[in-house]
Symmetry: C2
């Protein structure tokens, strides 16, 4: 049970409906969401605000992450942090404010980030001699420190990670997906040679793909970015791209091989075993609060959020039913059951709000995406059972409630949660596969990217990419790592394919 | 064992000494620290840099927290986060940048923070219409959101916490203690009445006192700040003050009762059960990376850091000894032992650096404050034992190594670590008690604050406080919560005491 203390913050949404008494129908409509089929973008906004994941901050483009949304992020963090540490990386913390001159040392890097920077010009009531930029990413300041810390081959590899906030000016903010400030981790590593740095780049990409599939149940595809989509200053950029329920792609984690670009710019060198001075090869890789947006758009439906159990703040919500003395008995039974579920590691909440009807509560927790709901009324109690409902089922839609024996509830519900997690991942993968088309002609291409992804050959010319984008708004998302090499003609211009494989094109967030 | 992977970052310090071969004595001297008795401040700086807890950032007053230092912070965080969540608080995240006008809404608050603010004036290449301040603390932006989220008494209490970076311009930075950016948590809560908000204020103070004593083994005293030392905008400020080994006090956590000051400034109101509109009572409370500085100055000695086991990145370090084939055998035995220790929850590291002598390693891990060291040589191995050394012992100084049986090592070392933790807490409390004097006369007072704390009556006048500070640099740290009421004459001016108890005066960080 989440908390015995009165006034659990998650409850605060319900205070208005509670006050309007017999106007519940109207209130329920007010809290319903725009159907996805009608306006996916409006659906998304309805869900993130009404499920109390976020709120708008006072500054344009800023986001407040509310407790229910932040808990999802904490669960993602904990899982990824474990993977990062288990492979020998160590967390550290670097300053938020970076001398403006640092950003300028790597030519492509400054060009990429200049339009997005927030700049501090005053501190302690005085104008600063050199303006400071609020980090949009930390390659430069970490590069400066690496140069100081690394001297011998024995210092390599240097494997660092940071959990931090970063700021990038956004004209068209979208909660979780594009906000002026977001939370992320950024791994930064230095290596003796290109092979070791490349292996690291792929290791980090693997963290993200595993996190996305195993934990967030996303339908993501790991691949390499085409040159036009690379990180500013990287030699190679790898990505995981996930399909959202409107057929768009969401870049959900990236890993960059920098070669010696940043090592040259910041003087990150080491003395080899032979005594020669050598440049390091560096990498960086990041996953952010964006992934929360990704799981909303992968699993949600017209009733609201659907959360994978691994990331659900509450995996099971118990709604006790009954009035007067019956209420007391069912509430006590709910608390006892919640205690047993918590002890077997199931995050459980009892919705004891006296002012709200069971029907209102059912809708509320459906909106918030809780995987399993248990109803516990006097008749259930007498029978030693509770009525279980799954938030969704797949492939067969099966909305039936199921009576489960109270004494076996912890084991039964653990198994149900594992099945729910697997079901969501399978549903997402099926959806992606159904909405991905291998295409050879331009009309096929245009059709495919209108509702999903196109796998197509591309010539690699920037002008041709720009042309495709102008016509369809689709961009090359990645060259998938999986699959055999294949050659063919560019789906747009007919020139020979540049990447030795088909490229995923899609409209993207 | 921390990591099997080569190039463990903690090793990087040793690369220079490794290269100089037979110049080890010189190198060891270079790495030794200034004695505390000679210059405590120089000792502190030597320790934080040489133990690789931190490095200086490129911007004046900024700090890089290196992996060994950051791990201590993570362990503190994890423990406090557990306490915060167990009492019904929820984590959330609020924007870094706050409209300048927000800071100005509460008169005392803006006055208190104005000289310390960093200001963002440009973003996306343009000058902003309204400058944004980088949060020095988040009362204002959280107050604004609370006003939006709270409407009914059912929404109360609202119990929020945030883990974040905050920035306050520092002219005279000191690593961990005063830096322009630091990491902290800030709790922010809203309540229906003063009694509930007061109870919350004391609950949070209890988190800090328990964390300080049970985890960081600090000798801290909970008490109330005198009016001149209150947080800007608070009605009452509570603190825990810990004694450092130079006799100074370090404020190590504060908890503020705001009354309705911020509720008035931001319109945080609710409708009561009777339907009347009421102002909320709010609190805020914070603990920061400062506490890491506190534990360094509480436990460290002339050999370097001494870490409480609860916060030690490595609780046990194993140094395998032997050359050639023997090295292989002891290294394998060390790895096996480390595996068993890790499985019983002991954070263990094997120092396998081939280029360094055992003596160098012993000094290195003493500098880094590891509680227990195990030496494992061929003769130990043959006897089925390892040689254990404690970083310090108390009250009897007992530097003798002790042979412990390898097969019982996990249980034995768990018990040793618990004893070490308790010993550090007892040593700190003894030191504090020996350096705290109850004084009645001014000469006694001046003597006491030259080397420790004075418990004295004070009139409560600001002019008298200023006078004491000018003469001795001592300030009122707190009115301790413990102890019976007592009346007397001001130790400086002879007027009647204002606080109904003796006040702790000390020089402070």
């Amino acid at each position: 049970m989440h908390s015995e203390r009165e006034g659990d913050h998650f409850n605060s949404v319900a205070s208005d409906p509670g006050r309007v008494g017999n106007l519940k129908i109207m209130v329920r409509d007010e809290r319903s969401v725009t159907p996805q089929s009608e306006d996916f973008s409006a659906w998304y906004n309805d869900v993130v605000f009404r499920a109390e994941l976020v709120d708008r901050g006072p500054v344009r483009g800023s986001m407040v992450i509310r407790p229910y949304g932040y808990r999802i992020w904490e669960l993602l963090q904990a899982d990824l942090d474990r993977r990062i540490k288990a492979t020998g990386h160590q967390n550290a913390y670097f300053p938020l404010l970076i001398p403006q001159s640092y950003m300028q040392r790597e030519a492509e890097h400054v060009e990429g980030f200049a339009p997005e920077l927030f700049t501090v010009t005053h501190a302690g009531g005085k104008e600063l001699e050199e303006p400071l930029v609020v980090r949009p990413t930390s390659e430069t300041i970490i590069g400066e420190m690496m140069a100081k810390w690394i001297s011998s081959h024995r210092d390599l590899p240097l494997l660092l990670n940071q959990w931090a906030n970063v700021l990038r000016w956004e004209m068209r903010p979208r909660m979780f997906l594009r906000t002026s400030e977001f939370l992320w981790q950024e791994g930064h590593t230095a290596h003796a040679d290109a092979a070791d740095a490349t292996a690291e780049t792929m290791l980090a990409l693997g963290f993200y793909q595993d996190l996305a599939v195993e934990v967030a149940a996303l339908a993501s595809v790991p691949g390499e970015k085409t040159p036009g989509e690379r990180f500013a200053g990287a030699e190679r950029t790898f990505t995981i791209e996930a399909m959202m329920r409107d057929g768009r792609a969401l870049q959900s984690g990236t890993s960059h091989f920098m070669g010696t670009n940043f090592a040259k710019a910041f003087g990150i060198t080491y003395t080899s075993e032979n005594g020669t001075a050598e440049l390091c090869h560096t990498t960086s890789w990041g996953m952010s609060t964006r992934m929360v947006g990704g799981l909303i758009m992968t699993h949600g439906d017209d009733k609201g959020l659907v959360l994978p159990p691994a990331l659900a703040p509450y995996q099971v919500v118990i709604v006790p039913i009954g009035r007067a003395e019956q209420a007391e008995a069912t509430l006590a039974a709910a608390a006892e059951l919640a205690g047993r579920l918590e002890r077997s590691g199931i995050r459980t909440h009892v919705d004891a709000r006296p002012q709200l009807s069971p029907g209102f509560k059912f809708n509320d927790w459906e909106m918030r995406g809780v995987p399993l709901r248990l109803e516990l009324g006097p008749r259930d109690l007498a029978a030693g059972t509770a009525l279980m409902s799954r938030r969704i089922s797949y492939p067969r839609a099966d909305a039936a409630k199921e009576a489960i024996p109270l004494d076996a509830a912890p084991d039964l519900l653990s198994a149900e949660l594992a099945a729910f997690q697997a079901m969501l991942a399978r549903r997402a993968a099926d959806f992606r596969d159904e909405h991905t088309a291998t295409v050879s002609t331009w009309p096929q291409f245009a059709d495919a990217v209108a509702t999903g992804w196109a796998l197509a050959f591309h010539c690699g010319d920037q002008a041709c990419e720009d042309d495709i984008k102008a016509e369809t708004t689709a961009t090359p998302r990645c060259v998938p790592l999986a699959g055999e090499p294949e050659q063919g003609k560019c789906v747009r211009c007919g020139k020979p394919s540049a990447y030795g494989k088909r490229v995923i094109f899609a409209r993207a967030y």
